[in-house]
Symmetry: C2
Subunit: 362 residues, 2 copies
DNA sequence: TCACTGATTGCATACGCATGCAAAATGTGA
DNA sequence: TCACATTTTGCATGCGTATGCAATCAGTGA
């Protein structure tokens, strides 16, 4: 049998027991001192705090969460941080989670890396919740978490089965508004650069776009796939722009690709934007506002999306057995100068020029 | 005294004991099955794996790390993800840490938010190591971690006291090379936009730049502070460019600021780059290569820096009592077209056009 | 002063797993 | 076949903390 010795001077961080010994109290008293709302007398608390300070004691969150069954860790899965949308999301999520007393276990997934097996590990940490902000993860994973009793929320994506909560932008409506905007700008032959083809965002944006165009008897857009990467988008742009009947306007599946497409259009094809070709993006990320691009883009309100996500996930952590929510954060078409302007429908909103369909009663 | 009941059917995740009961073995056997290299017979292992699968069992990493005293979590502190440098770093770090079997606890610090108190919490998780990639954190924190026995490494910054390991780029040399490059391009009156003034990167870049210029009897550069933000840099640019004797060339403390400065120069002052003004950045982040900016920039090799960081931190985790290392990843001046080209010294290297001082024996 | 109430405190235990040790099972050679 | 070496197994314990319970303490009013 092993006997408990006085802790050797060096190495190991002080424990509650060490502090208790030094302060001449029980370990429970120490624990209560560091548990808000627990019952400790003022004098004891002072003594203990002093002893803790002397030993550099910090409660061991690992041990704590073993008992409380709360790790206060939220898993966040992000992918492809090159796309500025995600750093913006990550930064906001991080700040708000920190403010709410949670910590982030970050997990980045890239397209090639099979993400699921690694993610299983993170589940081993008994995280309190999981935010999936990656388009490339299997839906199976979300199910698995649900089965493991871990609250999950999909950020900027959905699954076919609607039983996992999600927060998205107005992908389908955005696509439709963009179609209408380009049409109002006088374009007939459109182009579309898809993102990752089996991602819900890309599919929804595409179907909104195509839907409006086909309902209004516009020619079917020319289509290429950019996979949400710059390289992919550049290739897609080359494909579309080198055609003799190249499109007059291109709806780029997101701003990240729009930038690459603008680069190719300008510097490889010598096209002026918007005189020779109109470009519209999606997300309204920071760089879209740079004068170098001045991108017209349907916004995804990162702030709102993150707020909704936080609210939902924290609620789910408290009360796990809830029906899934499917929240949609409203966006709008932020009009800059990468696409020809329509005559009607431009208004100012929150200091930004936006466009709203005019032929509807609103 | 509380008795151990059969676990209620719902809710709680299965434990090793549950699996053991189902498989008809001891809890230790289950533990060994999930511990690589432990002694379990093939038949037992099979039975246990089957039972585990049936119950959806995953070892509880929290409980495990309580015993092993290894959390397999590395804390990463990043700040200001707007600057593309950090997402690139984060993505690489994340991938490599994942491959090495570690998990990332992410912590983002913004300038205004006092980071230290929150970071203390993350120390409570008994993380195995900490990577500080934020310029705005107190040096005290690094010391504190060292005291707590947590290996720390500073990424892209150093402290005055050299007792904490660090990985940086060639800040001082880069500044000097940029000075020499601009001089070779025929410029005399330079400008400098500083980053965060008390950050080591900004200070080192500045002193390298100023040092070379003063040694070679060039006029003292005009100086403004951009705080490493776009807004700050835009304001700094306005300050410098609206002077009657505005500088012929500006060394922008990093690419992130250089982009903002280019925007202001072009769209607010109608200047052509590099005909009317030369701009040089630092970091060589992705957007620097975009044709819209085509930025000449001294590179910080993210890949190498991350490799060195990984190597160091993992080593430190294994053997904590080591003298601190101060690693410097070599960069080079990647020449594009945002600054006037010198006559001599341009060479190709790894498919990039670079510039090296010519008047030295190399 | 005493009985009684409420606030503090310590004891003992459990959280889920890893691991040293000894017992049991299996394998090996003669 | 048996004695011995080797592997496999279970037992018991501890990691550092939270918490129910009972015991103790301080505080109140008469």
């Amino acid at each position: 049998m092993m006997t408990r010795f006085k802790r050797p001077p060096g190495q190991r961080p002080a424990t509650a027991t060490d502090v208790a010994k030094l302060a001449g109290v029980s370990q429970s008293a120490v624990s209560r001192t560091f548990t808000p709302g627990a019952s400790v007398s003022r004098v004891a608390r002072e003594k203990i705090k002093a002893a803790a300070a002397e030993l550099g004691y910090r409660p061991n969150a690992i041990a704590r969460s073993l008992i409380t069954r709360r790790s206060r860790i939220i898993g966040v899965v992000a992918a492809y941080l090159q796309n500025h949308f995600y750093p913006e999301v990550l930064e906001r999520l991080s700040r708000q989670l920190q403010e709410a007393g949670y910590h982030i276990m970050l997990f980045t997934a890239d397209a090639q890396n099979a993400a699921d097996p690694l993610l299983e590990e993170i589940i081993g940490y008994r995280i309190d919740g999981l935010i999936l902000a990656s388009t490339t993860l299997s839906s199976a994973l979300a199910q698995q978490c649900k089965a493991a009793g871990i609250p999950v929320i999909l950020f900027n994506r959905t699954t076919d089965t609607a039983d996992v909560s999600s927060v998205t932008g107005e992908n389908a409506r955005g696509g439709a508004v963009i179609a209408e905007f380009l049409a109002a700008g006088g374009h007939r032959q459109m182009g579309f650069v898809a993102g990752i083809e089996n991602s819900s965002t890309s599919r929804d944006r595409e179907s909104g776009f195509y839907g409006w165009l086909s309902r209004h008897l516009y020619p079917t857009p020319m289509r290429a796939v950019g996979n949400y990467t710059m390289e992919g988008a550049a290739a897609a742009a080359r494909e579309l722009l080198s055609r003799k009947d190249r499109p007059e306007a291109i709806f780029c599946g997101n701003d990240h690709m729009a930038i690459a497409i603008a680069e190719v259009a300008r510097h490889e094809f010598g096209l002026r934007i918007p005189e020779d070709i109109s470009l519209v993006g999606f997300d309204d990320v920071g760089p879209a506002a740079w004068k170098a691009f001045d991108l017209t883009s349907f916004s995804q309100p990162v702030g709102t999306m993150v707020d909704l996500t936080m609210e939902t996930i924290l609620d789910l952590v408290e009360k796990p057995d809830q029906p899934p929510r499917h929240l949609v954060a409203p966006g709008e078409l932020v009009v800059r100068n990468s696409a020809r302007l329509p005559q009607l429908g431009l208004t100012m909103h929150d200091g930004r020029r936006v466009w709203r369909p005019v032929n509807r009663i609103s």
